[in-house]
Subunit: 414 residues, 2 copies
């Protein structure tokens, strides 16, 4: 029998307890050991819980109990999770987590401590909820050079965009609906401004390229500025707008990494991933495109990924697993201004004929897009591939002719 | 440095050599050991190969060389691969394979020998080519009870059906095109009659439910009887026809397992998987639906999965991995006649009014489907859920009224 502890009894934490208890027998078979929850750590009281006797408010109970071999950290946030995880790893206990913020900001350090202490630090649940992605990238695709990863990594923003695309709902109304359905927090910033997706692509990039790519190095734009006009132009162009977290290996050894809304062609495998679903495309040089699809969040999907990591730790109590990346720095990341892609602009102008002429003069070859019911003073176009620096300089030039730039959205090459 | 051997130098085998050589450095980093190909076994001569010095025609060279720790068996077919694999495992060497026929027919025995000899027998490449599926099911989804697996497991038939659906091409013409493009063999039976998909769903079912489900227990129907009329009715019904390998856990402890063409609703995640692509849906009780998508075959995708398994073996030279299932028998599988689902019929009749009356009398509530350009003597309908035994008995009754049954296709509940 292996004793484990669960730190945090929120949505995911209570799910972990539920999955471990409800599948006790089949899990024991798979782990080849019975798994028993000895402690549940939470500062709140749960007097009515069937597991009331397992609750503790003292982290030291877990840290100092030599019987506890594996701990699930499902508290979220950097503090005190960071301090707790460090102490547990140093004490020779394996830790599994769904805490993307902690892995994205402190992963390299914690993985090094795990390595030095011959224990495991696993985090399958930190990206994609219940969708297997960390293990497939690190193990199944190990024979590939991963050329690119692009994913719809945040269910809340995908739900909002789906409502905008399919029901012509405004961003504000769709957000309100997401909040009513419990998909978005009262303070939705982490989701709608792209921070959550940013942490996830930072984790996938670090894992894939072996060096820590910190979230603050990832150019991140959310979806709060997306208007229904842009949705309509994306449709006229032949696609949809999705919030994409993306990392690409460049020839000079750096990576192009970002989170931003993108125009995605309708034929792309990511275009049909709607509502709260997540989808992650991994492009390997040998295997081609592989897509992983499922619910990216939610109590039981995320909990089941945490429990799968617990099982893996129990099976590897004396062996180190595969997960590791070294520390990294800003030199790994291509500055956003130097990255290149085609871009969509929507502008307002009082003189369309003159504006079209100016646009062609400034941007070179562009493709104008038309939509039905466009107001008289609106123009939209897609440029050729150019650096962001060029895009901005040319946009500045265009502004000087009197045109007002209302939107600028990346065109995906997927 | 770890010495490995590759048995078979066909499409996949030459791909394995190519991937191992071209990614030598990054693979060494991931495996934490350099990997060297010491032998390539093939009965043919390859005098112009850059690896000419590694070729041998003698299996004993590999078997008797104590330096060789891991062997990739990419010969295909049961003989002599079965005999070779058994001897290698008994000699304490790990074996990895893409050989679905061997795994589907001898898996339980070979996994037992691997277990007894503390070595690994891995076969990620046997299902889904380069799509990670074996490891995600056995590891990432370990905390789930897998309720159902349904997949488009054969790229050749999916290509043919896509041509029929999107270009109104006949089965014969689409098959000819698949052969010209190298997607189908000159003798296409293993693909079009569903045998290839049958082996793959047998492997996934055995892995998921822990007992060997032999291919001969899987009711298997191919796509050669699918007519363009059926494709048109599927479209009018709101979906497409796909060849699905499916296994469902039933309440009585048996499984409903089959390979057959099915009507799939357009909104299903499997409906949009076209051309030579494969897609596998795994429904877990905790994680919900997870879908894996990618190229299910081809030289480099399949080879990269074989090499990922080699890397895993090299990392676990002294540790047993997770893959195992016990032997099984016919009692695991619900007899096909006792399984239940809704079904589509297309019939010919000289008296439609009378036929409609007979159909309703015999089948109870049905839904008639109309298509444009249907000939005067054609009728199509979808029944409620009923056992296959009932379907057949009622079809027999209907035939006695003079109606001629032209098609009968399962309705998927995905």
């Amino acid at each position: 029998m292996v004793q484990v502890a669960v730190m945090g009894h929120g949505v995911v934490g209570s799910g972990v307890v539920e999955v471990l208890e409800n599948h006790r027998e089949s899990i024991a078979k798979r782990a080849k050991e019975e798994i028993n929850i000895k402690y549940i750590l939470d500062i709140r009281d749960f007097p009515d819980s069937p597991y009331a006797d397992k609750f503790t408010k003292s982290f030291d109970d877990i840290l100092n109990d030599e019987e506890v071999k594996v701990v699930a950290e499902v508290m979220g946030g950097v503090n005190p999770a960071y301090d707790f995880t460090k102490k547990l790893l140093l004490a020779g206990k394996s830790v599994v987590t769904s805490n993307k913020e902690l892995v994205a900001t402190k992963g390299a350090e914690l993985l090094q401590i795990a390595k030095d202490n011959n224990v495991n630090y696993l985090f399958e649940a930190s990206v994609g909820g219940g969708i297997p992605i960390i293990r497939p990238i690190s193990q199944c695709l190990a024979a590939n050079d991963v050329v690119e990863i692009a994913g719809i990594l945040n269910g809340t923003t995908n739900f909002i965009l789906t409502k905008m695309i399919k029901e012509n709902m405004s961003f504000e109304d769709a957000l309100k609906m997401a909040q009513q359905l419990g998909y978005a927090e009262r303070n939705p910033e982490a989701d709608v401004e792209g921070h959550d997706a940013c942490r996830k692509i930072a984790i996938l990039a670090s894992l894939t390229y072996g060096k820590h790519i910190y979230p603050e190095l990832v150019h991140t734009t959310g979806i709060s500025a997306i208007a229904l006009e842009d949705v309509a132009y994306a449709s006229a162009w032949g696609g949809v707008i999705k919030l994409i977290g993306q990392v690409k290996a460049l020839d000079d050894g750096t990576v192009d990494i970002c989170v931003e809304p993108m125009f995605i062609e309708r034929s792309s495998q990511l275009a049909g991933i709607d509502d709260v679903f997540n989808g992650i495309l991994v492009r390997g040089d040998a295997t081609g495109d592989v897509v992983f699809y499922g619910k990216g969040a939610g109590k039981l999907p995320t909990a089941s990924a945490v429990v799968a990591d617990i099982i893996d730790c129990v099976k590897h109590l004396k062996a180190r697993k595969y997960l590791y990346w070294a520390d990294g720095d800003a030199s790994l990341v291509k500055p956003y201004e130097e990255t290149s892609f085609a871009v969509y602009f929507r502008i307002e102008t009082n003189d369309k004929a003159a504006a079209e002429e100016n646009i062609s003069k400034i941007f070179g070859t562009v493709k104008f897009i038309a939509r039905s019911e466009a107001p008289e003073n609106e123009l939209a176009f897609v440029t050729d591939v150019m650096t962001v620096a060029d895009q901005l300089a040319k946009a500045e030039q265009l502004s000087k002719t009197g045109a007002v730039i209302k939107s600028k959205i990346r065109i995906s090459d997927l």
